[in-house]
Symmetry: D3
Subunit: 251 residues, 6 copies
Amino acid sequence: MKLLILNPNTSEDVTKMVEDAAAIAAAPDTEFVVRTAKWGLPYIATRAEATIAGHVILEMLAEEHADFDAGIIAAFGDPGLGGARELFDIPIIGISEAAMLTACMLGRRFSIITFSPALQPWYEECIASHGLSGRCASIRALDDPFSSVGNVQLEKEELLLRLANLAITEDGADVVIPAGTPLSGLARRLRDRIDVPVVDLIGSSVKQAELLVALKHRKALQGTFRRPAAKSSVGLSKRLAARFEHKDDGD
Amino acid sequence: MKLLILNPNTSEDVTKMVEDAAAIAAAPDTEFVVRTAKWGLPYIATRAEATIAGHVILEMLAEEHADFDAGIIAAFGDPGLGGARELFDIPIIGISEAAMLTACMLGRRFSIITFSPALQPWYEECIASHGLSGRCASIRALDDPFSSVGNVQLEKEELLLRLANLAITEDGADVVIPAGTPLSGLARRLRDRIDVPVVDLIGSSVKQAELLVALKHRKALQGTFRRPAAKSSVGLSKRLAARFEHKDDGD
Amino acid sequence: MKLLILNPNTSEDVTKMVEDAAAIAAAPDTEFVVRTAKWGLPYIATRAEATIAGHVILEMLAEEHADFDAGIIAAFGDPGLGGARELFDIPIIGISEAAMLTACMLGRRFSIITFSPALQPWYEECIASHGLSGRCASIRALDDPFSSVGNVQLEKEELLLRLANLAITEDGADVVIPAGTPLSGLARRLRDRIDVPVVDLIGSSVKQAELLVALKHRKALQGTFRRPAAKSSVGLSKRLAARFEHKDDGD
Amino acid sequence: MKLLILNPNTSEDVTKMVEDAAAIAAAPDTEFVVRTAKWGLPYIATRAEATIAGHVILEMLAEEHADFDAGIIAAFGDPGLGGARELFDIPIIGISEAAMLTACMLGRRFSIITFSPALQPWYEECIASHGLSGRCASIRALDDPFSSVGNVQLEKEELLLRLANLAITEDGADVVIPAGTPLSGLARRLRDRIDVPVVDLIGSSVKQAELLVALKHRKALQGTFRRPAAKSSVGLSKRLAARFEHKDDGD
Amino acid sequence: MKLLILNPNTSEDVTKMVEDAAAIAAAPDTEFVVRTAKWGLPYIATRAEATIAGHVILEMLAEEHADFDAGIIAAFGDPGLGGARELFDIPIIGISEAAMLTACMLGRRFSIITFSPALQPWYEECIASHGLSGRCASIRALDDPFSSVGNVQLEKEELLLRLANLAITEDGADVVIPAGTPLSGLARRLRDRIDVPVVDLIGSSVKQAELLVALKHRKALQGTFRRPAAKSSVGLSKRLAARFEHKDDGD
Amino acid sequence: MKLLILNPNTSEDVTKMVEDAAAIAAAPDTEFVVRTAKWGLPYIATRAEATIAGHVILEMLAEEHADFDAGIIAAFGDPGLGGARELFDIPIIGISEAAMLTACMLGRRFSIITFSPALQPWYEECIASHGLSGRCASIRALDDPFSSVGNVQLEKEELLLRLANLAITEDGADVVIPAGTPLSGLARRLRDRIDVPVVDLIGSSVKQAELLVALKHRKALQGTFRRPAAKSSVGLSKRLAARFEHKDDGD
């Protein structure tokens, strides 16, 4: 099984963290690659940036989807998820959704802990769009400057731990989800110091992707994720244009 | 007052319809221009297409926002709305939101009538994202091939009228909203044959834009629509990159 | 265009404040009058008082609606709104609804700040009845005696400012709405000291009324705001009785 | 125990039906009187009429509350209920609320059957205001002219029975509530021909009133139903004015 | 009228408290017995324990239902309620539901106060399952060791009073409900020291049971509480097996 | 990895179907056993029967949990799930939850198709208890007698297929879930004749169990699924009593 993991940010150090977390989670017979966006923003914190990332994701998938069994959008907020599920035939996983659905089996309510308050509004809309607001106890964010997004989880480890524990005692969290991708791997490192299950974004996403591949569901021919009717376009990458126009391989 | 109306589709004939509808609604001292997307899809019916349109909208706004008092995103579904409100200082109107909020003052529940079932999932998510699902009686779509999107409202006028009346008698609609932009102007033509208020997307949006400009609210410095922190980028249009990096005029 | 603004309280000083706020907002070609209730309570803080105000509003509208293009119910809580929309042919604006819908275009969540905790339960029910509870971050009220309702906004300006800022930092408000009518005009005075948009009740209502008049929707002949069937009555004012009985001018 | 049952309509024949239904339900040691409104409308079908009825109810209660142990507002829609609970010290029952809460102990979802579609919007808002929309399977109304409101339940008995059975088989109703007061007593007559519990508005209200009297809860001194602060007024009935001004007996 | 009150715990001292509270509430012509579970747990605080209690309740009802007019499940959380309503012909009351529905007539929102945080998750699910989460202001629990469940209300009276008052001032409670059965009778003792109505679980349940018996609704033949089709079983008590198999008296 | 799959029914033929479906889904290194309940009902269709099944499940888990890495409750409705998650240290999967969460990654809304209308109320409550009602398009049930629960999927295959297709075209289902266990394996057989993904209860549950085992989350020490405090009991199986009393192996 081959998984295509997409980092819609241009930051290679985030890609490296995603790779490490995926390597730990992947089953022995699962191959995966992690791609870094060739254009866009260094990381995504707001709706404006997620808007760009959505386009980036569709282009990245158009480029390579045919060679993989499933795709994983590796940014909390799941930019481009709905469109990707319409446009492509392989299962597409959003790491927010995968982590939250996993958390649903571990507790009544999960809390999100993250490293910047700038992320909160977008995360909140993401959770609502998945219909899971009722399962979310809180989003707690550090409000503290950090030196680099690639190092924030180490630099702020103790503060993030404190947020997690406040989420449990003050907000009633049964599960903690460290988000977004710059906190990849933190779940593993903190789990012995947190009294409830801690769900890793990348780990749970790799496993949910393996699950969907194994279960071999068909691509929808009807319903909200059926493929859009063929349309010509202007200014899109060659492969994305071909995908929209139903002129790529496999049609 | 100057309004920038953005058609995120590449179809000039839709732009023309939007222009006609805006001309009827605009106050005497309101100037407006309608721009057609230079790249993207000919029209937007699905999440995949709306994902592209979101990026298109941000670029169109980056290009011209400084010369206008407000922007209007002229596609039902409001692609790019949240990001645009973060990124730019002028009021941004989404035509779905403007029409639905207007409808809220005219009845308990509105129905959306539209020309293709392909639009339904995206419309439904749009309504939910505005928190207005409880005010929506139904979305009713024709399921009938049409010759061209620029002509669909004339070609299918009687069928669309029938949908509107079914929405009233079967679904309990107090207000009818014909959507999306290819139905611009239909509200005016059908209103005498429909027993409840019919809200025009473009007309209500132009008036809501005028309202927001007149009320002169400040751009948020806090909260979910504050401007994102400066970020460098790769591959964006020059002006959009400058806007993300806080290096455009006015910073 | 002529607007009838109804103060359902018997307090002339509140009427004066409404007049001032309306004058600032009204377009050059908009005429308006503000009427004070001839009977009822000096101001409305509870459901019991709003119950009386509902009747007052219907009588005030019955008296003068025929001479105006739209009516505005100038009390937060919108007493009599639904009944007025059924009974009369002109657009009727409730200032709570108009302000909240305006706020929806400016942020995800608004907070209400007000001058007495007595108002809170009724405000909360008003927000819920408009289906906007999910858009309301909080209602914050001063809990401090004040000398007169006509002077409360000046006397408590600093405390109200503090409430507004707490709503932003503690409750996540993207927009602040000072309510009810005794705070008319406060929005304008405080807006430079509050980091998010501040919506004025009367200002936004006058503009939404102008918008509805301009858009010329028909009076509903079906649906929940169609006119009630003719009924005789006992003990109502002559004109209201005639309106209920379909015996007033215009039938 | 003495119950004051208030018919906010001016129709004596409805009062008579309420009396008959109350007599069957009342416990041996429960005395009750049913009063007819001295002013207002002959019956209430819309929000406009309910607005008047709210005022009527407050006046009726102001007149006589001191001589009774509880009050019952005998109109589906519960006009004036919130205000009455604030203003008076005795328990106040709304017949919609009492019937719906009783139905909650008998099934997951109840359906309302009624005699005119004009009632539907107001009923729907009433159910929502009690937070019980999720427990309501449907509102089904006859759409058939009837000769008199005092005779509608006899004239349309078979059609109403059919509505009830459709509510069960089509809408999934576990309980049926015939509403409003002109259907008083119908529950008893139809119950053997309907396969689920049928709740009588007046019967369940009399019993819930007896229950509240027996349980002897205190009048709230805090919270949303505490008594409003004293206010002078203009144009109200002498006793209602005194009640608002805290100048009636018992203060 | 004869009521069967079921304590699904094995603690006789809780049974005694229930008996005392029921004796005060019961009408002169109401007879009642309170039974203690013969097997199960000493008290119920979690879902695991409620799971056992559900089975216990069905067996207790199977044993004696034929001799009574209604059954009351005397444990907050209402274990076995839905199944009991399906299986038996007499009205079944859950004390959580009865208390909360009673509270709905006394205020907009009630708060639950209880003696251990262990109860909170189960209580929260109970409230949600009744569709009443929107009416619940808060659940507040002591977090303090206590010597015995039979004595906790006396030992912690002042702390519980403090919780009640915090629920009013901090959470906006209009009504307070002390839960579960080990707090039976506390409502009566504290009511003069709490500014809002305090609802007693057992008192309100006895009265709601009397109400349902008096109203004489039929057992549902359709809908979600109709009796399950006959099934054989293994390992159930003789009478419960007979009830499931439709082989008990009365079939 | 060893999975304990629990059929809370006494029907061996259902166990056999579960075994077949699990065998197809299980990874090469996953061992599993399927146990049949030693007592209880032959199959579960109502809340009453699910109440018994909850107890059965706790006893089955108490007996064997120590030898397995995860447990699967193989009855739609997930009887005993919450209690099991509290009481035991291994991950517990409910097949309804696992299938619905899987479906969430495949579409906006799923429909449940099943073989008897008796199952509908319990299924509906199960979906609501998981907070997923908003993701459920419909529950459609055959209303047709069948010869045996062990054979119903073959006997009614064409009718069930028709239900699935109606769910797609009439109810807007993006995903179809055949439920409960007597339809195990039907998903696989029908998937080529249904235009949207069809999720198998047992298949998706086995994979979600493998996922949870692989991700190695800790047992909650706080929050709603922490282990209940030790309690003695009467009349429970030896091992379940020991588990409740914290006297089993591993304490």
